[in-house]
């Protein structure tokens, strides 16, 4: 119920949705035609995906909805997982044409790390939004989070495989490339759930 309501709340009208669908698609197609579809998609997800998820939560705070959710007896772990799940779903839907474009230029294996990356940015963005007092603080925290993620994305080191972003740039369907990002995602969810349960 919470997740369904949150999807509706994160959906910001047809005009806004059209823009959010068209711009990533145009960027990925533009970058893809120059041979950089993966880099274009990874940068988009790291910046707009993370900021978008953070802003959605800050918007809930500004409106007063966040307080109503927190003060309720509903379990906060489940509540935050539902909120980040809703955010992930909205993100995936908005990026569907961009994903199709990336798959066209870089091949189907890019879809796996791309979808995992969306789940990571959604949970990170929601966590950053929840931990920030306002829009300014959220931007600052998001930039701080993006910096190490960027480094990990472009680092040629094998350890970079723990994050799915690296796989978007260099898609590979090896066991470490498939399993490691999933472990990272699960650890992130568990950390987030532990933090949320104290609210």
């Amino acid at each position: 119920m919470i997740g369904r309501m949150m999807i509706g709340e994160f959906w910001q009208g047809k005009k806004s949705l059209l823009l959010k669908v068209a711009v990533p698609f145009a960027i990925v197609v533009g970058a893809g035609s120059a041979g950089y579809a993966g880099i274009g998609l990874a940068m988009l997800l790291l910046f707009t995906g993370l900021l978008g998820a953070g802003m959605s939560v800050v918007r809930l705070k500004t409106a007063g909805l966040y307080d109503r959710l927190i003060a309720s007896p509903a379990g906060k772990t489940g509540l935050f997982l539902e909120v980040s799940g809703a955010q992930s779903l909205v993100l995936v839907i908005q990026y569907l044409p961009a994903l199709a474009g990336a798959a066209w230029f870089a091949g189907l294996p890019i879809l796996y790390p791309a979808v995992l990356s969306m789940l990571v940015v959604a949970v990170l963005g929601v966590a950053i939004g929840a931990a920030s007092g306002g829009l300014g603080e959220m931007h600052q925290n998001a930039v701080l989070a993006v910096l190490p993620l960027l480094l990990a994305t472009f680092a040629p080191h094998p350890a970079a495989r723990v994050l799915p972003f690296h796989g978007i740039i260099a898609p590979e369907l090896t066991a470490p490339a498939i399993v490691l990002p999933v472990i990272t995602l699960v650890v992130l969810y568990l950390l987030f759930a532990a933090w949320a349960s104290r609210l």
Binding site: E9, L65, D67, R68, I70, S72
Partner: protein
């Protein structure tokens, strides 16, 4: 048996030194407790601490016996908070929002939705995002009134409400309080504070206690009984009385209208004056008496004669 809400030594200070300091109070079963105070006196901070949004830096709050820090989840099941915003899921209709928030707060009661929406004159079929400020406030108040919780917390409940909706709200509050619900509400309006059985006055984050009756000295009390609901309004001048009555009339045919001045000191009516005022139709007789008394006090008359009744009549008679 302990009181449904007990706050003890409650302190929450912001870095700038403001906030609340060492507040201790309790609210008994069925009690309507008003927290009055000017802007910045600490009311909202207090409500956020009571509603578990802020963790007290010192002191404790127990709601239905549960400590709001140590037994937070159980305490949260025992109350329904209304904050100073009226946030809703804008894309969902009023009905869907009621359903959602009652589910979220673990409330099963749905049977009075139509009754309340009729009294609040709220169309629940519209998306909440299309509601005006006052309509959103009505919706959040409805959710609280429907929640069936034993403790209701309201921070500035009538923010953005028109006069008749305020009366409807306080009518329902009285009804719930008679059924044993404990209500705590914050306000900076004197006329609202007096709806409480007891008023705590916050100033600079500290508490004092006031007799709510004194807050209404010099005001006119208008009570209108419609069906089983009694609405009370307080105005400063007799000229405002017809407006108040007109606002309440759409809710139904009044069984009784009582108007009295909250001034102190008795007035003496002569028999002839009483007979003259008594010619008014029964429904408005008490209103006429209230208006004449108010007029007499304004003029400094202690004795009401037929001339005073006539003067008051000429002044207030609709043209």
């Amino acid at each position: 048996m302990t009181d449904p809400l007990v706050a003890s030594g409650l302190t929450y200070r912001y870095p700038n030194g403001r906030g609340i300091r060492d507040l201790s109070f309790s609210a008994g079963p069925g009690e309507v407790l008003g927290i009055s105070g000017s802007n910045g006196s600490g009311k909202t901070t207090l409500f956020r601490v009571l509603a578990t949004l802020f963790r007290p830096q010192d002191g404790t709050v127990r709601i239905q016996g549960y400590d709001t820090v140590q037994q937070k989840e159980k305490a949260r099941q025992a109350f329904f908070p209304v904050f100073d915003t009226s946030a809703h899921m804008g894309h969902a209709t009023g009905s869907e929002n009621i359903e959602f928030f009652l589910d979220l707060y673990g409330s099963a009661a749905r049977n009075r939705v139509d009754h309340l929406s009729r009294h609040f004159n709220l169309d629940l079929g519209l998306p909440a995002g299309d509601y005006s400020l006052g309509m959103k406030r009505k919706l959040v108040l409805m959710e609280a009134l429907l929640s069936g919780k034993g403790v209701l917390l309201f921070d500035e409940p009538t923010l953005g409400l028109d006069s008749s909706a305020r009366s409807v709200f306080f009518g329902f509050i009285r009804e719930l309080s008679e059924q044993g619900t404990t209500v705590i509400f914050g306000t900076n309006r004197k006329e609202e504070a007096s709806r409480a059985g007891r008023v705590l006055f916050l100033e600079g984050g500290r508490l004092g206690e006031r007799d709510p009756g004194k807050d209404h000295a010099g005001m006119i009390e208008i009570r209108v009984v419609i069906e089983h609901d009694e609405f009370a309004e307080y105005v400063l001048t007799p000229e405002e009385i017809p407006d108040v009555i007109a606002r309440v009339l759409p809710l139904g045919v009044p069984r009784e209208i009582r108007i009295r001045s909250r001034d102190e000191g008795d007035l003496v009516w002569t028999e002839a004056a009483l007979e003259k005022a008594g010619r008014a139709p029964p429904l408005v007789r008490r209103m006429v008496v209230g208006i004449v008394e108010r007029y007499a006090r304004e003029r400094g008359y202690r004795r009401i004669t037929p001339d005073v009744v006539e003067e008051a009549k000429q002044r207030f008679e609709p043209r």
